[in-house]
């Protein structure tokens, strides 16, 4: 039987779906129409990907007035992080991430 973790990893194993999450991460709470703007996918394809993300609880929706807004729900990814990254490793992992980011930014500027 497929459990919640399976659904999360399957949902993340697709570049189009990761792109949709990136767009929500940059600007949380978007309508389907807005999410489709500038994408090469059809509205139907975006809608299908969103359904997979919703089933995995990575995206959640909220009715605001007459609009249905899509939100990135970080809770399942937070649980994955907590599962494999221990208390003492956390700061080192974050320090490594910061180092990587700053070195890569330098490269871009050079």
């Amino acid at each position: 039987m497929e459990n919640e973790t399976d659904r999360v990893f399957k949902a993340l194993a697709d570049s189009s779906r990761r792109k949709l999450l990136d767009r929500l991460h940059a600007d949380n709470g978007q309508t389907l129409g807005r999410l489709c703007e500038g994408l090469k996918m059809t509205r139907q394809a975006v809608s299908k990907h969103l359904a997979v993300l919703e089933a995995a609880n990575l995206v959640t929706t909220l009715k605001v007035g007459r609009e249905k807004l899509h939100y990135l729900n970080p809770a399942p990814i937070g649980e994955i992080y907590d599962r494999w990254i221990g208390k003492y490793e956390r700061q080192r992992v974050e320090a490594m991430n910061d180092l990587k980011k700053s070195l890569e930014d330098e490269n871009e500027q050079a």
């Binding site: 949380n28 609880n57 959640t60 909220l62 605001v64 807004l69 939100y71 970080p74 809770a75 208390k87």
Partner: protein, 160 residues
């Protein structure tokens, strides 16, 4: 800001009553909420206060806006530890608790944030609180790194 800034959904293997207790009782919140102890009479209009662990140091405050145990809890919220943030005024925190296929679905909406600066303050904060709450309710133990700020500070000591 017209639309809600933060919407989190988590499914917890517990009962609505236990989630309600975990959200409203200080002896529980201090275990999973960065060591903060919540206190309120939990009636509409009553003050809500967060204190640092067992001290009387006020960290955040608000007022109960809706209270329907064990289904829905809404309160206004503002940080008290920083005068600059305090001045900006209240945002609103809503919890909705619904039974869902043998689990309980907990939805947190944080909205009416007065500024982008205030939103940034909370951006990294909610996910660890919710995942620590889930671990606490499912195992009886919170995530160790969220037990207290003091402990968090201790981790940076060299040689540990």
């Amino acid at each position: 800001m017209s639309k809600p800034e933060f919407v989190y959904v988590t499914y917890i293997a517990t009962t609505p009553e236990k989630i309600w207790a975990a959200l409203t009782q200080g002896n529980f919140t201090k275990k999973y909420w960065y060591g903060r102890r919540i206190e309120s009479e939990w009636t509409v209009g009553a003050p809500v206060r967060f204190f640092d662990r067992d001290t009387q140091d006020l960290t955040d405050s608000g007022v109960v806006l809706e209270c329907d145990p064990p289904r829905r809890l809404v309160y206004s919220f503002r940080p008290e530890f920083s005068p600059e943030l305090r001045e900006q005024g209240h945002s609103r925190v809503s919890f909705t608790i619904e039974p869902h296929e043998g689990l309980v679905k907990l939805t947190l909406i944080h909205d009416q944030l007065p500024s982008e600066e205030m939103a940034a303050q909370f951006r990294e904060g909610w996910a660890p609180i919710l995942s620590s709450l889930k671990t606490f309710l499912e195992t009886g133990k919170p995530l160790p790194q969220l037990r207290s700020f003091e402990e968090k500070g201790r981790v940076t000591q060299p040689g540990e």
